[in-house]
Each structure stands twice: as structure tokens, then as C-alpha cells.
Symmetry: D2
Subunit: 441 residues, 4 copies
């Protein structure tokens, strides 16, 4: 991933140095078990750990000859360690025992960072939700004003989706937290299931019940789909912010820094560029998922076609998702909400947002839904076309007034009543979020 | 989905008639609550259920005028029912209260069928696994012979993936089993959370904690990704069968019916067309998932762009996955396994599959991995190029013989030893599968 | 594709009956050449054509036994024809000679329909462009008001993209207009290149220079990418209409029929549902393309995994694109444009859309871009925050007035000047479109 | 893109330094026209070019404050140049005038490199095609042996696809070779179409007929689909090589370097890892295309969501495709072809590959296709099941021998006859390729 969209925390997971150190961890976990089995001298794994300093460029140098990254790594380790200690290094193992096990450690680490990101995003959303829990706004469907909501409920919807993503990400981390030390074709030809179990335990991983040469790639595909779902949420929120910042809407504003310039040409511009930016990144994460899904049907006991894909998308997808979540958090932390403008927008259609109340009041009076609909719609369309207050049109409609008193009609336009259940929704989501946090901590 | 790839069971979920009947179920569940609340006459919902017969073409006729499917449906119901009973039909509800709640019922039903498919596929795989648990075969990595495995382990790998898919599908069904009866913008403007809870309980669904006009689309996207993972497994197995049936390999044969013809031109052909067919269908299911992911970022409290996508992919993706799983089951049930040919293939490289044993034996004797590798590789490459038994080359290599006795070398070629842990793998997967079945039943 | 999104014209291309008739066309073209070669009796192909009536259900009946669609078709033909006439039917041919050649005819036909659709869409856009060529409106970037444009230019942008799609679709049709009658593995084992050339000429197709058993699938993939680009254009226009119909914007309205109802709950709603609908369909067409791209790497001289994909996406993608283009045409034909509202929106920011004019006027006076930017931006931000006319803020800024006279400042706000080149743009596109039409007719 | 898959030539197109230098080229092209118009002092553009040295880190430093990359760049230029010369720098332009025009130059440059890659790949394939034009091999369909071909024809199929990709890539380069200098919303508010035309001419680009703030993204999407088609071809060839190198097939071998090691565990391994590697990369390029397609429907006169996508995929997709084509070239240059093994494989089914010849000979004798099929199939199935020569089975079948003499039967097994037209195919493709080269040079 390009530096512009890379945060240090996630980048650290994917450096060459980190990778080789994780490879070393895996090899040493096995050596440790060999020690315990008495196969090699006591203390060997500890001595190797102390002596070996990973030097990425030296490994690459060796790889240029042997054309095989794990072999290059092993040679590099052997160069630095006591020969007696490393004679059984990689004994009975195949490259993928190291690669896939270390890859699981990386993906798990990435998953933990993303869980933390989600938690922080959720916390910011929660405080927005509480701050604006009672702020009325218009609910829009099809881009057209529908009925009143509160800004708090809008934020609650985001928080609830965040909670779902936490659960999915936890599940994905769990699915991927398996390693394998089962040899060239997964049948423990030269190692034992017991060795695998003990070595993986040292690394905090479970053994894959049936590996081939590799861990089956449906686990990884599942992990990447969790990222895509996460990215889809970020996109949904970003698109909402972009809509709400439109010049004609102006209910929220992305943070706009001192000295910032919105356009090289037009000094008046304040654009929601951060939200647009993460909207685009969601397309990327989605597309990476697709490549992960195509990685599943490997030939026989493995082909290595998945490897080039994973070398690219594992960092790219996790880095992009991490960046998106963090940028989203920053946007939300600095989000300016114009409550008055939200109210102004709510009133823009001069009462049309209460058309259903009138419809239902008429039905309550005994009209069929169809009859009532026709009466209300004819006034609504006039109101759209000619301007003026909806309530006035209704009051001027004798047929309607033959069913409803002016007072009854007025009651249809009661904002408080319309929003009477929003507190419950918010409480419900707070509860949901609290439970998620408990599981996370 | 075209009839060719459509099974009746799954098709039944997606007929227009079924859909309208589910809509009716949703409306009647609400009516039932209204009854209990004393809002409408006792027995109303029961009377409506008895009187109303869904007539799809009549609904379509009405839709041609009103251009709105739910309204057309409501008119259709009103035409047949006692006016007093249906005056409060759809009262305070919006179309999506019906649509999304019914959609959840359909997806859940589809999910149940797929769970049953998975179970049946798993059972067939399990019996293959047990039947061929000890049949030796060559493990291939990169398409190149690697080391011995058993056919049983190959099947075990499929069974373990089936088990994972069962778990994912169950999770997906759970995620999607929510409804909403929360009105036009999800804030219960004209209904109550209590009404929603009670009505959904009648349908066996949970309420969405925060809906907009609709149930948020990340739930649906998650459901479709579960299908893609399932399809990926089918593809993996299908590709394996295609490989194993290749003329040069011939270890398995797809069932080939009496009177069947493999080619219009070449009477000798027996092609793995069933497996090829489902390989292609996996591409479809993958692609549908992508559209589902793009459906997530709806505008504001909903836009309806997801609808056209779902009208197509909900049936198409579930029908295709159901078809794939069933076709896979049929292939596996009729699969002919040529155990002798598998052994012949295992011997094709004249012992090269034991090269690692020799490598490790040399290391055990005190050589470094690098030294041992060079000694073994030079004999292996000769064996590749010139033919002849690998063991003979090794025995003719004086340097090797200076480390190993002929007896020690012979022991490196012990097939039994190579496969000593395969039983454990199979036991492990049986256990895993048994647990999955328990949860399913 | 579901009936809801299927137009008769395109459906007709993909019926089973049509397909079998095209298969017959291919077989008869070859018979015709056999006649000319004196291999079979004169008039045979004509006699077969007269006698054979395609009966789809009879063919399916036969297929149930032979499990091969082309063989079933051949048996069906043989059942009806004079044995002597059809003895050489399919002689030396393989199924794909028939299938792929007929498939090319179908795709070409579909392509012609789409070209006609594009032409009609272009014509409607052209008339919108001309009708509103001078209607001022605000140009928006990032959703934020930028500078003045005309509605005509907006439409011109769509027309220019339509023209590009015509060119791409023509190219795609050309790429796909190849057949093959080269036998089981493409080397003319039992037919001759001359026979192929003559038979394909009768069908209006070119021979594939090197076929395997099939026409290589990159041609088909290229065809489907042309559909995706087309669908992307429709989506772009649909998204624009949805934006312009937003309650806060209201510059255009989709046609809204008499008796139409926008919502089951809210009688006031007029939603851009047609545009939303085709927005969703674009996701489908995009996803189909992906499956087509995955179809390319067939094994050896062909595997049949592409077939199940194509059976589904060839109709689905062309039908969906055809539907989208026609629905778009209908939307555009009935589009209500509110010119006054467009002007009102243009004035919404009280002159801020001229900020660049002021910037450039200051630069012209000798200020650096940076200095000028700071002066203009500080007034623009005040105007955003406090309301009021931008021009007034500028005039109250002494520093600015030290560089510009009030008259010079006024000139910066000249709408006519801002739009002086729009006529040229429109002329340019008309010219482009005229050329496209010439090529089409 | 990660360094492992990045070649220097393509990387150079996408460095920050290169990008800023292209931005300077665009700005200076406009300045040059201003000079010619007498708006600024003669020689200004030349003086700026001489003085300004792009310093990437300085630009980034400025961007940290202004949060806008083009503005940062302009400040950087202004810092170094004579104020009088750059006062009109960027005059009347918007950032995208620079960005999109420079982006076109980058994509064009990338396209030229890819065209050169394709040419080189084609040349290697051509020489393989000629070298093995007459080498018999088995054609395989469905993975099952079908009929004889030559290796030359296999290569010819690749060459023909390469030729098609050259044409598509040229078209894609042409589509993308447009710039825009039309201001903030594309209507030349502060610049003139004449200025644009002259400035773009200096850069070798055509003006976009109707731009918004940006060049419409269908052009870019079309470019990326051309990459996906290219990648699909590479994948097809790579998959073929992987199949042909399988241990059971062994007809070709990827180059295997001295000192190379195929596996860390198994010294005998020679794996087609290069081909597997590019198989995976094709999935990546395909996925990038999808993101490019989603970039099309920008809001109004542009939103910037496409930008983050393009910052990543423009380098990643072109670098990956360039890498794939070069790696493919290297594989093909070093490809070892085992002609004898190909013949051995052709004979593996003991004559079954001639079953169609026998079928047709029987039809020629007056049998119906159906009768003949049954006769040949029953012998073919026996031959599959029991081993033995197909010809012997036929000769032992009295019914067959009642139609054909032994001599006639023998003639059905004539390899020369089966391959008589392969020379023509190869000539045809050479001709096609020659024409492509002419256009390229």
C-alpha cells in the first residue's frame, strides 16, 4: 500500500523484518519442543534467539541464488547460530509450516489492530449519538424527505453496525488463528501431531485439523470478507456525511483545518474530501476480497498461486481498512453538526413529512387505506407543486375536514409524538455496544 | 436462474406466490397483535387468512396502475377480505416492514436448505473418507509429486472444510433472521416497539435494533459472502476431481451414465463435465457476492438501489449454490476411485517421493541441512532426467553411503512409516464432523 | 433474468427455440457447402430446413438420455429429415463448432439491439442538450457548489459518453463476430479450412484464426467488459438524476405517472425509483463481467467450465443492459427539468461561485496566487458562516478594494462571461454524435 | 506494488518525482501558450523549467499545512521561480487540469511499456511456434485426451491472443490520451478552448470533448479492462504450462536455475513456481479492474472518490501486468519442451484419439451417426477399461469389420493426415502477427 494510506501500527505488522522474526519464532517454538524431547541440547532455542539478528538484505542476497525465500532464511539463521543448536532447525518441516503459521500470527495481529480501531470508532459514534440523541432531523428515503427522525438515531444505526463488525472481526480472527507443522503434505511424515500441538501452543495458535501442504484458504477468504464488510460500513457512513455536507443540505461539516485549502482554483470551497477518500478506498478493499475468494481452489495438496496474491492483499487490505477506520474516527471526532440547519431542512417541505399521520388518522376514522391515500396525496402533490404549508391545504380540503376536526389535524403534526420512541432505540444500542465492549476487553 | 440449474426445493422459496404469502404472514402477524390489543375485532387475522387467496397475476394487474408492488398487494388483500377486518391492515407500517421481514424469512429458509445440502455432502464425503482411509496415493504440490498421503486424508480435508461451511452458514442464517416493523424511517412513528417484538415473535424473528426504512444491508452482504465461501469449497473439490480424472492421472472417474455420450465427435470421451460445470457456477456465486457488497452504502435512511440487485441475486445465488452442492453430492456418491491407479501414480517417480526422508536421515547423521540437500538433490535430478530407481542412485553415491548404511537407506522408503499418522487425522475430522451434526440436528 | 427486467426484443435472442434454430443454421450452412462440393444430394440443406421444426421439449427429452445437448439436437433433426440428406450432418464437426458459432450469432444480435438502444438514448440526450443548452445551473464538485455551468453541458457530457459506448460496442461486436468449424481440437482433423470459410461466410462471420475446441474466451470477456462500461454510464446518469431530484435540490423530476404511488405509507412521496433501480442493475452487470473474465484461462484445448457461466450471464448481462438503456431512455424522455429551481440553486451561495473570478482578477493586478487566495478565502469563509452576499463582503474588505475598483469587482460576477464557451462544447459534441450516427446507419 | 513484483521501467512512470515533473510539464505547456499570447514575458516557461528542481519532500512539507497536493506543488514552484514568470502559473486552471492531463501522460507511458512487453512476449511465442510447428502432441479437452494437434498450434493460439491484446492495448492507449485544461467545472470559465488545444498539442494529447472538473472515468475504466484481458491471457498460458509440467504429463519444464531449490523439505522438487506466481497475479489485476469500474459514476461535476483508488491501482495494475508479461517472457525463453514425452502422451490411450476417424469412416459407409457412434463407443469403453490397442478392439469387432476393411481402418489412424492443416494455421497467425508488428513499429 502506498505510504499515503499507511499507518505505522499496521505497517509494522507487514515489514520484511517482522515477517522474518515471526518465522524465527515458529522455528524456535519447534526447537523448544525438540529440547524438551531431549533431541537437541537444552537451551538451544534460547541461544539461537540471542545470537540471530535478522538482516533482511542478507536474506535477499541468499535468495537471489537459491530462489526460495524460506531456504534463504534458514541459511541466514545457520550462518549466525551454533551449528549444533540448529542442526535440527526445520527438521521434518516444510516451508509452509513456517510461512502459514507466521502468516496466521500476522493476520491475527492485524485483526487485533482493526478490533481496536472499531472500538475507537464506536466510542466516537456513541458520544455523537448521545450528544444529538434528541436533535430532530428529517429522515430521507430515495433522497426524498420522508418523516422525522433524530440525528441520534442516525448515529445509533452506525453504532449498531460497528457492533456487528466487531463480532465478525472477532470471528474472523478466531478462524485464522490456526497454524500447521505437519510437513510437506500435511500428514506428519517426519513430525508428530504432538510436536505440532506443543509448538503451536507456545505461539497461541490451534492446529489445523487437516492441512495439506498449507492451511486451507477458505479461512483466509473468510478473513478478507470480514474486511470488506467493515469497509462497506465505512463507505456507508462516508457517503452519508458527503450527502449531509452538500451545499443544499449543510447539516454536517467535516473538520476543515486552519490554512487548509479546498481547491486550487476556488477559494470558497470546503469539500468533504476525507469522506470521499474513504469512499474510494472501500472499492479497493472490496476488490481485494475477490482475489482472496479466487485463491481458494488450489490444486491437489497445494499450488502456490495464492502466494503472490497474499503478499499484496494481506498488507494492502488490512492497511487500507485500518486507514479507513482511523480516518473515519478523525472525521467523526471533528464533525461539526449544524442542528439548526437540520431543523430548517426538516421544515423544508412545509409539513409534508406528516402526510402519513394524516393518512392514518383518516383510516382511524373509518376510511379505507385507499380512500384515505387519495385524499392525502392530492393535497401533498399540490403542496409540492405550488409551495405553501401542507396543513393549510388540508384544512382547505372540505372532504378531509368532514372526517377530521382542525384539532385532530393539528395533532397529526406533533413532532414530539413522532419521535417518542427514539430514546428506546438509543438505549437498545447502548446496551448492545456495552456488551460488545465487555467481550473486547 | 435458468431452469437447468434450478432445483425445485430452492425454487419454491423464491416463487412470486411464496413471496406474497410471506407478505401476508407478516401483515397477519401484525393484525394478530392488533387483535390482542383490542384494536380490531377478535378473529380478524384468522378470517383474513381463510378468505384471501393470493393470485399473482391479479396483483401484477393492479401494480401496472399503482406502480408499487406492496400497494398492489394490499389492494389485492382488501378486495377479498372483510373491510372491517383489514381496515388496520398495514396500519403504521411502511412497505419495507413487509418486504424486509418477509425477505428474512426467505433467506432463512434458503439457508436451511443449504445447511441440509451441506450435511448431505458431508455425509457422502465422510463415507468416502472412511472407505479410502488407508489407500495410499501421492500428495502433489505445484502439480508435482511430493510425498505419500492417503486418499482418506484428501477426503478428510474436504470434510473439515464442509464442517467450517456449516458453521458459517449457521452464523449467516442467524445474522439474517431479523425483521423490522418500525415504520417509514425506523423510529416507530406510528407503531410501537412492543408491537414489532410481538409480531416478529410470531414469525420467529428478532427485531433489528436500529433499522432505517430497511434492515441494514451488511447483514445481507454477510449472508452472500457465506455463499461465496461455500461455492469456493465446491470449486476446490470439483477442480480436484477434474485433475484426478485427467487421462494422465485417472485416479477417479465421475459417474458416467448408461447411454451417456461424452462428445458429439469423439466416441471415446468420458469427460468430468459435472465437475467442470460446478467450477463455472462458483464464478457466478462469487460475482453475486460482489453485487451484494456494493449494496451496503445506501443513501440516508435508505435508497432502493439494492432492490433490483436482490430480486436477481437472492434467488440466483441461493439456487446456484444449492444446485452446486447437490450436483457435488451426486458426483461424490457415484465417484469411482481407482485405488490401483493411485498406487501406480505414487510409484511413477520411482521413489523420489522419499527424498525428504533421505535428507533428514543425513541430517540426523550430523550433516548440515545444506550439505545434505546438495547430496540428495544431485541424485534426485539425475533420477528425473535419466529414469531409474531413486534408491539405486543413492546407493551408487559413495558420499551418501559414507553416512548411511544400505539398511538405513531402505528404511527411508518405508510407506507405512510415512503414513503412520493419517488415522489420527481422520479421527480428528470425524470428531469435528460429529460435533457439527449434533448442532445441526 | 427475471421477467421484471426483461424486454421482449432481447429475450427473443436467448430463447431455447432461437438457440436451436441458430444451431440448425450453422449445420445447414455446412450442409450447403457439402452440397456445393457434391458430397451430398443437391437441395439437401433446403429440404432439411423445410422439414425440420424445432421442438424444444422433444430435444430435452432426448437429452435426458444422452446427457449431451448437441447430440440430442442432432438426433432430433435426424428424426425429421430424409436420412440421405442428413447422413453428413455434423460430419467432421464437434459440438463447439455449432455452439460457439451460434453463440457468436446471438451475441452479435444482442450487440445490435444494444447499439440501437444506445442510439435512442443518445437521441433523447441530444434533444435535452439542445433544449437546455443555455439554462444556467451550478456546477458541483465534491457535492459542493463550484462555478456556473449550463444544464446543456451536463447533458453534453452524457452524450459524449454515449458516443464512446457506441464505438466500444461496435468494436465488441466485431471482436465477437467469429465462428469456428475446425473440429474437435481446432486443427481441421476432419473438415477443411475452406469448408469453414465458406460456411461462415453464409452466416456473415469470420473464421477464428486459431481455435482450440472453442473460440478463445478473451473475445467474450472483451464483449462483457463493453457491457460493464455501458452499465457504468447508465449508473452515472442515474446517480445524477437521483441527486438532482433530492428534496433539497429539486432540479429535475423523473416521470411520475397518474395513479402512481411513491410509498405505501407516505402519500407525499415522489421518489426517483426508476433511476435507483438502474443504479442497482449496474452492480449486476459489473459483476457478470467479472465471471466472464474468470472464464478465460480454460485448460488445454478447452474445459467446459465457461459454459455454465455463459448460459447464465450471456442472457442476464445483455438483458439487464438492454433494460437499463431502455429504462434510462424512458426516464429521460419524461424528465421534468425545473430551470427556475436550477437558477435558485445557483444563487444559493450568494455569489460564492464567482470566487475564482475575484482570485484571478487580483492576480491580474499583480498579487501572487497565494496572496490573492488568502484575501478571497477569508471573505468566502465569512460568507459561508454568516450568510449575506459575497460581493458585499468583498466590497467591505479594504485590502481587496485597494486592488480592484467596484466596477472591476462587479465584472467578476458576470454570468454571461462565465458561460461564454458552453455553445462551443455543445457544438463539438453534436459533431461527435453526428459522426457516430453516420457510422451506425 | 511490492518491490518483488516491480520492474524499474514501470516503476519509473509512477514515482512521486516523475508525477511532479509531469505536472510541471503541463503547467509549462500552458505558460508557453501564455507567452505566445503575449500575456507573460517571452522565455518565461523556459526560465521556469531551468530554475525549478522538483523536491518531493519539500512539496510534502508544504502539503502538511495546506492539505492540498496541487497547491503545495504550486507553492513549491513559486518558491524557486522568478515571480514575474509564474504570476500566471495555473491561471484560470483547476487542480484537475494538471492532475488528469498528467495522469493521461502516465497511463500512456505505461501503455507503451506494456505494448513493448506484449511485442517481446509475442516474439518468443512466435519462435516457439515455428520451432515446434510439426511436433505432434495430444489435444486435451476436459482434461481428457481428444485428438492430435501439434505443439506449434498450441503456441499459435497464444500468439493470436497476444495479437488481439496488442490491438486492445493500442485502443486503450488511444482512449486515454486526452487531457483537459477547461477549468473548475469544464466550461472554460477562465481559460479558452484555444489555449487548451494548443497546450495539449505541446504534450501530444487531444482535448476531452466535454470534461466536467475531470476527464470522465469511463476512459480509465476501459484502460483497466484492457489490462485485465491481458492478465487473463497470461493466466491462460501460465495455467497451460503448469498442466504440462505436472509429474504425470512432463511435456514442458519451466527454466530451473543452477543452485535453485524447489522445496525446503523435498530435494527432488522442480516446481512451476513462476507460472503459479503469475496465475495469482492475474487475480489481482482482475480485481483492480473492478475498482476502476466502480469509479465511473462520480457525483455531479466530479467527486474525488476515484482518486484514492487510482493512486493505488494505476501503479499496481500496470506494474503487475508489466511484471507478469516479463516473467512470462522469461519462462517462455527458457522453456524446455520434451517432444518425445509429448509423443509418449499422445500414445497413452493406445489409439483412442482416432475414434472420430473411425466414426466418420463408418458414416461414410452409409451408417447413421447414431449407429456408428454406438459401434465405436463400445470398443472405446472397452479399451479404456481393459487396456490394449484400440485398433485391435476394432478389428475384433465383426460388425465394424463388416463395413470397413482392415486397410480402411488402418487409414483412420494416420497421424499425418490428422495434422495436414496445421501448417496453414501457423501461416495464418504469422501473417496476423506480422501485421500487428507493422502497426506497432
Amino acid at each position: 500500500m502506498i505510504p499515503r494510506y499507511t499507518r505505522k501500527e499496521m505497517q509494522a505488522v507487514w515489514t520484511e523484518e517482522r515477517k522474518f522474526n515471526l518465522w524465527l519464532d515458529v522455528e524456535l517454538a519447534v526447537l523448544k519442543v525438540f529440547e524438551e524431547e531431549g533431541r537437541i541440547p537444552r537451551g538451544a532455542s534460547q541461544r539461537v534467539r540471542e545470537r540471530v539478528k535478522i538482516n533482511v538484505s542478507r536474506i535477499q542476497e541468499i535468495e537471489n541464488t537459491v530462489r526460495h525465500d524460506v531456504i534463504a532464511f534458514l541459511v541466514h539463521v545457520a550462518e549466525q547460530a551454533n551449528p549444533e543448536d540448529v542442526r535440527f532447525l526445520h527438521f521434518g518441516m516444510t516451508s509452509s509450516d513456517v510461512l502459514d503459521t507466521a502468516f496466521a500470527l500476522q493476520l491475527r495481529e492485524a485483526g487485533y489492530i482493526l478490533l481496536d480501531d472499531l472500538k475507537k470508532v464506536g466510542e466516537v459514534i456513541e458520544s455523537l449519538m448521545l450528544e444529538y440523541s434528541d436533535a430532530p432531523a428529517v429522515g430521507r428515503t430515495h433522497g426524498i424527505h420522508a418523516e422525522p427522525i433524530t440525528l441520534g438515531v442516525k448515529f445509533a444505526s452506525w453504532l449498531s453496525e460497528t457492533a456487528r463488525n466487531v463480532k465478525r472481526m472477532k470471528e474472523a480472527v478466531k478462524e485464522i488463528s490456526v497454524g500447521k507443522i505437519s510437513g510437506a503434505v500435511g500428514v506428519y511424515g517426519h513430525v508428530s501431531p504432538d510436536l505440532e500441538r506443543r509448538a503451536l501452543e507456545l505461539l497461541g495458535l490451534r492446529p489445523e485439523p487437516v492441512s495439506t501442504q498449507v492451511v486451507p484458504r477458505d479461512r483466509h477468504a473468510a478473513f478478507f470478507t470480514a474486511l470488506a464488510l467493515c469497509a462497506g460500513m465505512v463507505e456507508r457512513i462516508a457517503v452519508e456525511i458527503r450527502h449531509l455536507q452538500r451545499t443544499e443540505v449543510r447539516e454536517v461539516w467535516e473538520p476543515f483545518g486552519r490554512g487548509q485549502r479546498g481547491s486550487s482554483a476556488m477559494p470558497h470551497k470546503k469539500n468533504p474530501v476525507l469522506s470521499e477518500n474513504i469512499t474510494g478506498l472501500a472499492r479497493l478493499v472490496r476488490s481485494y476480497t475477490l482475489a482472496a475468494l479466487e485463491n481458494m481452489p488450489l490444486w491437489h495438496e497445494r499450488d502456490i498461486s495464492h502466494s503472490s496474491v497474499e503478499r499484496v492483499i494481506a498488507p494492502d487490505a488490512t492497511i487500507a481498512t485500518d486507514f479507513m477506520l482511523n480516518r473515519l474516527k478523525n472525521i467523526l471526532e471533528g464533525l461539526q453538526v449544524d442542528v439548526a440547519q437540520a431543523v430548517a431542512n426538516l421544515n423544508l417541505t412545509r409539513g409534508l413529512v406528516f402526510s402519513e399521520s394524516v393518512l392514518l388518522a383518516l383510516i382511524d376514522k373509518g376510511l379505507s387505506r385507499d380512500q384515505a391515500y387519495i385524499l392525502v396525496q392530492r393535497n401533498a402533490l399540490k403542496c409540492w407543486d405550488e409551495g405553501g404549508e401542507f396543513l393549510e391545504y388540508l384544512k382547505a380540503d372540505e372532504e378531509i375536514m368532514s372526517y377530521l376536526s382542525a384539532e385532530e389535524l393539528d395533532k397529526c403534526f406533533d413532532m414530539k409524538h413522532a419521535l417518542r420512541h427514539t430514546g428506546l432505540i438509543i438505549d437498545r444500542v447502548r446496551e448492545e455496544w456495552k456488551k460488545v465492549l465487555e467481550v473486547l476487553n
